[in-house]
């Protein structure tokens, strides 16, 4: 690993776990994730149960249909729509729901414009949204004098569909309880976090046990950077709705982000003590804390248990997420080879075609140019529905593996813009914009931000030191690097670079040599890369012209032949591209 090879190290960390983040929750909707505990008696559903369910579904439809035919009304048609939806007949359900709403509209004239069957209208509107006929719902809603709850139902459902302006109009028309909860939710979705916070706080003042609003408040605060307050709101959500596993998972996610790994372990233990079942998602959280605490054996065991739980729960998304992360962790830990890991991940992708997590893990495992073909093939299949951040990362990684500095720089810049607090993205951008493209002004801006936002991140600070050294700020580079040098040979080499940039050749070269010895002791076998980087920076700093070139060469690291597979490795390809750009001889030597 060379003086500037830190990006790879950061992305390959076994502590990393690619997962889905919490999304804002729709207030008042049936919760997707409620708490789960163990059943006292396990039961394998058999034919008798399925027969009973089928018979109940049929009886429900038969009764609802008979009543609607006997007493055609908005009430009975809405009920019929629900019964049809229960049988999976979404077209019929939508048609009957529309008829119910049509009858509600017809009744208005008779009752002085009053909606006399508001709950049937609400039921029918909800059915229309569930069967993907939102436009019909909006059209009927515009003809009806909706009450507060019906307006909030419209707002919540439209917000889920991303029709935020319409959602906001419906929510703002309500003057009563529930308004703040929905408006807060809509504003979180619209990324207006400041606006959302006041509404969500108002909602919680009215109903302190409103776990939906507490969770949405937590998300808004987090995105504004108020991490402690976000944690506090997330904790409130878990305690307000003890049965809400989505709130617990969100809270754990934030604790992980805040590097409160021991608290994660304690909270998961608390959930188990309270009778929660060891679901895949809870086990994953615990495993992530163990990974971060470098307890990789325990973490791997937990992930294997999580995979079993996900398989039993038929949770395909979780299964793909866990298995792909397990493969990546094994590859990073050297338990399996990269080619083998890529093959396993490609097979996983074939079985989980829509999981972008699997492809992200492929991108992280890929470290050779020849991996690009498989990665690109998988990426093409998920590109359309992958999140923009993930898309930018994978595209960056493809460009990086190909040694295409221009594309890597552009994609890294895009990635860091989409995920400004992702340290992996920042690291990638600093490397590819700095070294790769030599756009030092842009790289310096990133470095300045890192000093403020991530002053304790040794990998990022090492990169800051590099950028400062290359931009004539050697003293600052030395100051920021000094506290990280102990036991971290990469920073030691970068410190050497900082001294070189100040013209202190002997000190600088001495630090390089010490770093090379430490790297060798640590089993790092990329000394040819370190040598090549040294040759590059000596040239870029002009040391061969400002100092005695013989002395510089004598003090420099001895030349080491490049590995046979250098043309398959991005770190060498990046350097080769730079050498070509500056018309230096390749391989780079002094």
């Amino acid at each position: 690993m060379g003086t500037w090879g830190t990006l790879e190290k950061k992305i390959e960390s076994a502590a990393l776990f690619v997962s889905e983040a919490s999304s804002p929750v729709t207030p008042g909707a049936p919760p997707v994730e409620t708490g789960v505990g163990r059943r006292e008696v396990g039961l394998e559903p058999d034919g008798a149960l399925d027969e009973l369910i089928a018979s109940n579904v049929a009886a429900t439809l038969e009764t609802a249909q008979a009543l609607a035919q006997a007493v055609p009304s908005s009430t009975t048609f809405a009920a019929w729509a629900v019964a049809l939806e229960g049988t999976g007949n979404t077209v019929g359900a939508g048609d009957r729901a529309s008829e119910a709403l049509g009858r509600c509209v017809d009744q208005l004239a008779e009752f002085d414009g009053e909606l006399i069957d508001p709950l049937s209208a609400q039921l029918a509107l909800e059915v229309l949204f569930r069967v993907d006929r939102a436009d019909d719902a909006v059209a009927y809603a515009s003809q009806l004098p909706l009450g507060p709850q019906q307006s909030l139902v419209m707002a919540a459902n439209l917000a889920v569909l991303g029709r935020l302006d319409e959602a906001r109009t419906f929510a703002e028309s309500v003057d009563g309880p529930g308004r703040h909860s929905i408006l807060g939710y809509v504003l979180v979705l619209a990324h207006d976090y400041h606006g959302a916070i006041s509404h969500l706080r108002a909602a919680l003042r009215g109903a302190p046990d409103d776990a939906d609003s507490a969770m949405n408040l937590s998300i808004a605060l987090w995105r504004l950077g108020s991490h402690r307050k976000a944690l506090s709101a997330a904790l409130q959500a878990t305690r307000a709705g003890s049965a809400r596993m989505d709130a617990v998972l969100h809270y754990l996610e934030l604790l992980l982000e805040e590097k409160e790994f021991l608290r994660v372990d304690r909270e998961v233990g608390r959930q188990f003590d309270m009778g929660a079942a060891p679901t895949s998602r809870l086990l994953v959280m615990q495993a992530r804390a163990k990974l971060a605490l470098d307890d990789q054996d325990d973490a791997t065991r937990l992930l294997e248990r999580a995979a079993t739980a996900a398989r039993e729960a038929q949770d395909d998304d979780a299964l793909a997420e866990i298995r792909s992360n397990l493969v990546r962790i094994r590859a990073v830990r050297g338990k399996i080879g990269r080619d083998d890991a890529l093959r396993q991940l490609a097979a996983l992708h074939a079985n989980h075609k829509t999981s972008d997590v699997v492809v992200v893990n492929m991108a992280q495992v890929a470290n050779r140019k020849h991996h690009v073909m498989a990665l690109r093939r998988a990426f093409d299949e998920i590109a359309e529905h992958a999140s923009p951040g993930r898309r930018a990362f994978i595209e960056y990684q493809i460009a990086n593996l190909l040694g295409d500095n221009e594309a890597a720089g552009a994609k890294a810049a895009e990635w860091v813009e989409l995920e400004p607090n992702n340290t992996y993205a920042i690291s990638a951008a600093m490397v590819s914009i700095g070294t790769g493209l030599e756009r030092w002004d842009d790289a310096t801006r990133l470095a300045e931000r890192v000093l403020v936002d991530f002053p304790d991140d040794s990998v990022l600070i090492n990169n800051v030191g590099y950028i400062f050294a290359m931009t004539g700020r050697g003293d600052e580079a030395i100051r920021v690097l000094e506290r990280f040098v102990e036991g971290y040979f990469v920073a030691q080499a970068t410190l050497g670079l900082a001294y070189l940039s100040k013209g202190e050749i002997e000190t600088g070269m001495s630090l390089y040599r010490q770093a090379a010895i430490a790297a060798e002791r640590a089993g790092d076998d990329d000394d040819s890369l370190m040598t090549a980087y040294q040759a590059l920076v000596v040239r870029r700093l002009g040391l061969l012209t400002t100092h005695d070139p013989m002395k510089v060469r004598a003090l420099a690291l001895p030349a080491v032949p490049m590995p046979d597979d250098w043309a398959d490795r991005s770190e060498y390809l990046r350097l080769q591209a730079l050498a070509k750009k500056h018309k230096y001889l390749w391989p780079l030597t002094l």
Binding site: P27, N56, G178
Partner: protein, 361 residues
């Protein structure tokens, strides 16, 4: 059993005008899963009765339900809140075969008190429902609560409480009697069906308590009572909105059942308390349809009776003054009386106001 207009049913066609014992079948009143109900006249006394007939070829479940209803109605004979059981029996009716020959077919029947109709006939049409004064709705609900309370006192749970199973006897007195006891259960009797039947329950899913849709219902006494409390709450929701509560709260029941089936397979138990917010939100919509004077009390009653967690329904009154009461439904009746009184006071004030305005004019 609904008294709604019926599609042509061969058994109805065959039985109309026939005699079963001393009873002359006059006209069909309704049709259920185990047979048909007729308006009949006792040829000797001239008394009008309702006759529930188990049609030949009914499923085993239907036969069990029919027998169960007969036994329990006799057990509850002295309960005025439950439809009266007069007698039961069997007879043969001639069934015309294809060759013109007549084949005698045995049918079994229960003879029950006659009612004016079922409660759902008053609420399925929103125009009719809007005409039903709230005092009257509350009195109807009160009588259903009394019926359930009497059943519980005689160790029987109804397990299928809904407007269509409440028979209206006398509109002026705003009284209903509970009927359709096919799925009722004597609480001292042991489990009689496989566990699956209790996990999911039987019947129209729009009325089922959430624990049934989540495949978590139990077979203990408290589970049956909790289901009845939910049914009573849902009955008020029906009177207010025309829709049962589960239909309003749980959305697409197909999705809920599929998830619950996967949970069952994975051996996990989803916490019903996670539905609390959803229930609260829907109940707010429901009470919005009521007169302001009773909204607060209705919310308290519905929140307690229809709590998504069955055990929480059994806690009883949130009011300290009710703590000494050992009867779990007494506080409900007291609260309904308070609500009726509030409406009466409001109505009185409205009348006074109107008189004053008239006098001033």
């Amino acid at each position: 059993m609904s008294a709604a207009a019926l599609p042509i049913d061969p058994w109805i066609a065959l039985l109309t005008g026939s005699a079963l014992g001393p009873y002359q079948l006059v006209r069909p009143l309704g049709r259920g899963n185990f047979g048909v109900v007729f308006d009949a006249t006792n040829a000797t006394s001239g008394a009008r009765v309702a006759i529930k007939i188990l049609v030949p070829g009914a499923s085993t479940d239907a036969v069990l339900d029919f027998d169960n209803e007969g036994v329990l109605l006799q057990h509850l004979d002295s309960c005025e809140g439950v439809i009266g059981y007069i007698t039961g029996g069997s007879d043969t009716v001639p069934l015309l075969a294809g060759s013109g020959l007549s084949v005698p077919v045995a049918v079994r029947y229960h003879v029950l008190s006659i009612a004016l109709g079922s409660l759902d006939e008053l609420i399925l049409d929103p125009v009719e429902r809007a005409k039903l004064p709230w005092e009257e709705r509350l009195r109807l609900w009160r009588s259903a609560v009394i019926g359930a309370r009497q059943m519980h006192a005689r160790a029987v749970a109804h397990r299928d409480l809904k407007c269509s199973n409440c028979l209206v006897l006398d509109v002026k007195k705003s009284r209903v009697k509970l009927a359709d006891l096919g799925r009722a259960k004597h609480l001292t009797e042991a489990q009689t069906r496989p566990i699956e039947h209790y996990l999911h329950g039987r019947g129209d899913l729009r009325f089922a308590p959430p624990e049934c849709l989540l495949l978590q219902a139990g077979a203990e006494v408290d589970h049956f009572l909790a289901a009845d409390y939910y049914g009573l709450g849902s009955l008020l929701v029906e009177l207010a909105t025309g829709q049962p509560l589960t239909s309003l709260t749980l959305g697409d029941f197909n999705t809920v059942i599929a998830q619950s089936r996967a949970d069952l397979q994975a051996g996990v138990h989803r916490d019903l308390a996670g539905l609390e917010l959803r229930y609260r939100s829907v109940l707010k919509s429901v009470v919005e349809t009521m007169p302001k004077a009773i909204r607060k009390d209705a919310m308290v009653l519905l929140t307690s009776l229809c709590h998504p967690v069955p055990e929480k329904r059994l806690i009883g009154s949130p009011f300290s003054r009710d703590r000494l009461s050992k009867d779990r439904l007494e506080w409900v009746l007291r609260r309904i009386d308070i609500m009726i009184r509030r409406l009466e006071v409001d109505a009185l004030q409205e009348r006074r106001q109107a008189r004053r305005q008239k006098a001033a004019a």
